[in-house]
Symmetry: C3
Subunit: 270 residues, 3 copies
């Protein structure tokens, strides 16, 4: 098995347009002058492999089968391993062994096998440039999975903590997974959880550390009146709190990692 | 007529480096693995199809003839149509029917014909990924204009409100079209308006909601003394208020949509 | 000598994802439809050719031999020359004559020859679009170095001020070269300077305009306790002050251009 001619997917927390992203492109073009490189995102949550992995899990199914360098790596230079993961779909994902890759692989079949990436001398602080991007580029030019380094047990890979989403009949406690550039607040539950909990009415009570609000279930942003909080299903299938053309995160005082409780709405408003 | 082998131009308000931009790239590469994709901008004014369209109007003439996905789409998921516009130059522009595309097409010949984009099931909230980018990618692989969907009347397209620019002999009332990353303030008038209004002297009075300032006419940023407000013609032909190596927007308290009045300067300074 | 088929490297201070970056891409694709374009960075320090040149010096060695448009250009439209520089490695770098290009070329052999870029009419304010990117694109399609314009003396090129780094036995006065997106503070000295000054102990005193702190020498971010200031060698070989998963620049009140003094630490802590 190898990744010859695969496009290279590149995702980091380096920030868009930085020289860190650019120098990695430069390194990849030197190794693989013909490769297509897809910048999947460079705004992954800094230092947070779990939150980043959840985003990658949602977007990788839209990408073609690929070689990838996926990098959110606060432990760079420590004993954490540099790994290459083969997915059931046939993708080859290079990155740190900190929980990021198993999450990223989850919706494209999960992890089928893993290797440790062997490299000669390298910097202590910039493995995207020195380890992960070179590995992805070499794979795209035909280097085999096995040639990257020794086999490691899939069961030995670091795994991220599971989502907080306490779903049973009654109120749901969940977490904020992400806040997007429009201020939309992605929750750690999907619409079936609301049904399961008996919270499938037209309104929801939203309890945050700041207080209580009411959210109305809608299909689209545009169906919301000005200032009205909506609970919609976002384009990746998550329940999301939003406003029409304004920031729900600002209004509700929510950020990634915030805990909220959803309960049955409606009666309160009568 | 078709767009086979055309480069794909992609422009949004998603913010640079976000996974929203990345997932659209992934979708386009899957459909059109050989296509050149040009990221024209991902910092278009959020929620503001008119301001975004004005920017696209200025930059599209520099692009080669293209298939394009142009997306500023606060009405996504509502009844607003998804459309494909053919320009007189032969470009094929996919986007929402909210005024964006006719403005974008204005400087490359205007709209010659339009089609409604027919798609199977799609998300309510992410038509860039599910409708517009797939359409642009299919066009670049040879799908014909007619195959995209039924013809619609050009006269039925939504149009943006005209520019505010009250130009006659005497003071000019105009609006701020945009503030760039350097804090330069683009006005809704071109230099011929100043001539027409008899304001072609070396200085201008600039009246904002904050008060009155004086601007001097110059050719370049570098010709301005420190702290001096300049009125220059920017690289797209608009009158622009600026400072040398500092932000005129911050100094004058101006933002997109601000109204200002320009009148004859000079005498005041004698 | 020419640059036929070379990839084009593009670096600016325009901000990521702006239409300024995009319109330059559009112009280059029109001239050189087959060229690979590498966005090396679009977050170079605004208005600061010296700081930008120092960053480019560090990253260009990772790029393949290239045609390049390198643009930090506060003097656009003034008498400053538009130049093309040939490096000893064979790169062709187009940009303003303000000190940027000689610094950028320094680690890829330095400047071997220079030409003035001859262009017909152009804007006063946007030479990236009108002069530098067209030149780089034409070079990548085979236009020769000599055809760009008349030869100019290498000795006549504007040079940036040298680094501030007062290194002798005892305390070192140095400057902050850059603060990255994680808040890491890059200093104007490399590790050999500490040795030369006799400051190669396990701790350093860091004196800023805000006061005095202690930094510990470490190899990696991960080896730092929470809240502990580290002095590490960054991935480009510079001494850098950092925290583990937090911003040293914020904690120490440092920004690009700040002056600091390093002296022997350790005894203070006993």
């Amino acid at each position: 098995l190898n990744g010859a001619s695969l496009p290279i997917v590149f995702a980091t927390d380096f920030g868009p347009g930085t020289e860190w992203v650019g120098v990695c492109h430069a390194v990849m073009v030197r190794i693989a002058p013909q490769a297509r490189i897809i910048d999947l995102t460079h705004t992954l949550p800094k230092f947070d492999a779990r939150a980043a992995g959840l985003i990658l899990r949602d977007v990788l199914p839209y990408a073609p089968r690929c070689a990838a360098a996926l990098v959110v790596d606060p432990g760079v230079g420590t004993q954490r391993r540099a790994i290459l993961v083969l997915t059931e779909r046939g993708d080859l994902l290079a990155g740190p062994d900190n929980g990021l890759l198993p999450l990223a692989a989850e919706a494209i079949g999960g992890v089928a096998a893993a290797r440790s990436i062997e490299t000669a001398s390298t910097s202590f602080t910039f493995h995207a440039r020195d380890v992960f991007c070179p590995a992805a580029a070499r794979l795209s030019t035909g280097t085999s999975f096995a040639a990257i380094g020794p086999d490691i047990a899939v069961s030995s890979l670091v795994r991220a903590a599971p989502l907080i989403a306490d779903v049973r009949e009654g109120p749901i406690e969940c977490e904020v997974l992400d806040v997007d550039v429009f201020g939309n607040v992605r929750l750690s539950i999907r619409p079936d959880a609301l049904q399961k909990a008996g919270l499938d009415g037209e309104t929801l009570n939203v309890e945050t550390s700041r207080g209580r609000s009411t959210a109305v279930r809608r299909d689209t942003f545009g169906a919301l009146a000005q200032g009205e909080v909506g609970a919609i299903v976002d384009s990746f299938g998550w329940m999301t709190l939003c406003l029409n053309r304004a920031s729900a995160a600002d209004m509700l005082g929510l950020a990634r990692g915030s805990r909220i409780t959803l309960s049955r709405g409606g009666a309160v408003d009568l």
